[in-house]
Amino acid sequence: MANLVAPTLSSSLRYQSWIFAIVLLAYAVAPLVTHPLFLMQALCLTLFAASFNLLAGHAGLLSFGHAAFFGLAAYVSAHAAKVWAWPPEFALLGATAAAALLGLVFGVLAIRRQGIYFAMITLALAQMVYFYAVKAPWMHGEDGIQNVPQGVMFGLFDLSHQLTLYFVVLAVATAGCLFIYRVVKSPFGQVLRSIRDNENRAISLGYRVDRYKLIAFVLSAAFSGLAGAMKAIVVQLASLTDISWMTSGDAVLMTLVGGIGTVFGPVIGALVLVLIQDRLAHLGSWVMTIHGVVFVLCILVFPRGIVGGVSRLIKKPL
């Protein structure tokens, strides 16, 4: 069995590494072309989409509450950096841990159900977190946590300097995506996919399905949290938008547009979202319409997303 599987894995690994190197290079030189703030937001959203893709694409668990992890981590990171004056690396770590913990709580409750019921439970739990955010004094309701200091990372990198911040964000996002890639390509990832494809068969093979699903959920929550924590430091703001159901919807949108279950889907999905919001903003009220049209088109015409469609064309997994 292993011999049949191994050659395919290593050949796809080779050209996927090339594509990965190209994307990384593109992001590395992009600040020459466009201002870094836009790119940093795209990077944070890429990590967010990648973590969502891990859960939805590879474990087959479509959650409508991922904004809870993204947003809570944004708030925790902002609070840690501003009020407790933690250096950015600890703010990010603390926020990721908080998101992972929340993921554990959500996971234990939601894993018991599947499909639409799972989605509804995650949505409900996320809405509870949203209303906590509206009321909690440390989160400042409508105002959110503003003027988050960017600090100095590891005592070396002054994050208030835009370009330094950019490369730190690029490094963290790359590391996060690489980790997720490693998880996806590992035997653990194989088991997840088998659970996605036929849960009963996986159970009959002796896998403790709930445990695998829970670990995937916590991992996904943790990386969504890392993305949110980074975003708070980049934009220097954590607001209710980050924790609202619309951000959960953005995660779904990015993953679907990019290509659910693909490796590079999140990269494209995040770019598409940020581009629509930013470059088309001058179209005024048409932006929301375009948003909706893109969503509908993707589901009807490109059910596998952009990357999924290309992958089908060139007959290679992307």
């Binding site: 466009t34 201002h35 703030l37 836009f38 937001q41 209303f131 509206v134 009321k135 400042h140 309701g141 409508e142 105002d143 959110g144 503003q146 003027n147 975003k231 934009v235 220097q236 703001l237 607001s239 938008t241 980050d242 940020v274 919001q277 930013d278 903003a281 001058h282 179209l283 005024g284 009220s285 932006v287 929301m288």
Partner: protein, 399 residues
């Protein structure tokens, strides 16, 4: 050789003439209107604000010192992230010189901050956010609307008084709670009493328990510290409970002309609120409103008028300074009084607040309205220096 000669010649030419161009960066004066064009604030500002900014550009002849004035706009969807992105791109790559409008609290603060970082001018006309001219004040950020102090003082000077009883129905958000506490402070100062207060969660459909408490309290005035859809709902339900018929008066603390229009006169009649501008207040405002209506097909709101006023004041300041360098223009904006069709006797203070006369308006009764937008009457005009928070009380370190 010829290339070298032409290169040297053109360099010399630019050295001589470039001197005049260098004063106005990028050979264009660009106004950026950044607001909500698809959500709850689209009627208050939205595309109308773009028209208002263009009217201001028209009023300076479409050009300043030989350089054209252009207006660009974008929808920030009430998301601070999107707004920061667009503002940063505008300031850093698109040669936008000033950003105006900016509805919704955290969005306004975020862009106000982007302006501070990039040392470019931002004028918030669409929200009152006190913090912008207190803790968050910036040398290049201005606030063109009334602050909470002004709102509260104008209400209490006209409606409050010894032994008047007030009841608050407040949205459970920091902004509204802040406004309620400011209002309460002024009510007590003029001798009034707060007989009760309730907080309601956002987007609650049913206000019955809150309204019944208000009715039972026997208050003379029921202050509604809420806005948007909630405000409309509470007013509609108040009429169902016969609150106004019972003799109590409703006070919309944060109300707009568009709210009155969606409610309709029978429901909204006799509601009072505060405005920086009303189109029917006097001849100058009526004339300007006519110009606006021709382009926009509807009467202007306070938001539109303030965008016009802020943009015009900026453009005139650029003309007076002879440059669009932000600090020089800010100095001229502070020196010159704000006097235009929208705002009279306005002064730009060192903390960034534009102090001007505030109007207390009341909704007309159904029979009194003669046209679609003839909805309000001006009850009182309070001078700016009486209404606004005095400069000495401001927590701004720049004042």
């Amino acid at each position: 050789m010829r290339k070298l000669t032409s290169a040297i010649t053109s360099a010399l030419v630019f050295l001589v003439c470039g001197h005049a161009f260098a004063q106005l960066s990028d050979n264009v004066v660009k106004i950026g209107v950044l607001n909500d064009q698809s959500g709850p604030f689209a009627d208050l500002g939205g595309p109308g604000s773009v028209i208002a900014a263009r009217l201001a550009a028209e009023d300076v002849g479409g050009a300043i010192l030989g350089v054209p004035v252009t207006v660009v706009s974008a929808d920030h969807q009430n998301k601070a992230d999107i707004a920061s992105n667009i503002a940063t791109r505008w300031f850093q790559s698109d040669a936008v010189d000033i950003i105006v409008d900016l509805p919704a609290g955290p969005v306004a603060s975020a862009v106000h901050g982007v302006g501070r970082t990039n040392r470019k001018i931002t004028i918030v006309t669409a929200t009152s956010a006190d913090a912008l001219t207190n803790e968050q004040c910036s040398p290049t950020g201005l606030a063109w609307r009334y602050d909470y102090n002004a709102m509260s003082k104008v209400f209490t000077s006209a409606l409050g008084g010894k032994d008047t009883k007030w009841f608050f129905i407040t949205l459970d958000f920091a902004v509204a709670v802040d406004l309620e506490s400011k209002m309460s402070h002024f009510i007590r100062e003029v001798g009034g009493k707060i007989v009760g207060s309730v907080r309601h969660p956002p987007n609650v459909g049913d206000f019955s328990s809150f309204l019944l408490q208000a009715k039972a309290s026997g208050a003379d005035y029921i202050a509604l510290a809420t806005a948007g859809g909630d405000l409309i709902n509470v007013i509609k339900q108040a009429s169902e409970f016969g609150i106004v018929r019972g003799g109590q008066k409703l006070v919309g603390l944060s109300m707009q002309l568009t709210d009155v229009r969606s409610l309709g006169l029978p429901l909204a009649q006799k509601l009072s609120f505060v405005q920086s501008f009303y189109w029917d207040a006097d001849d100058t405002s009526r004339a300007w409103a006519k110009r606006f209506q021709e382009k926009a097909g509807r009467a202007p709101t306070e938001g539109h008028a303030l965008v016009y006023s802020a943009t015009l004041h900026y453009l005139n300041a650029v003309k007076a300074a002879g440059t669009d360098e932000p600090m020089a223009v800010m100095a001229k904006m502070r020196e010159r009084p704000v006097q235009d069709s929208a705002v009279s006797k306005g002064v730009v203070r060192t903390d960034g607040r534009m102090v001007h006369d505030i109007l207390l308006v009341e909704v007309k009764e159904s029979g009194q309205s003669s046209s679609e937008w003839d909805l309000l009457k001006v009850v009182k005009r309070v001078p700016g220096n009486e209404a606004f928070q005095p400069l000495v009380e401001s927590k701004c370190p720049l004042k």
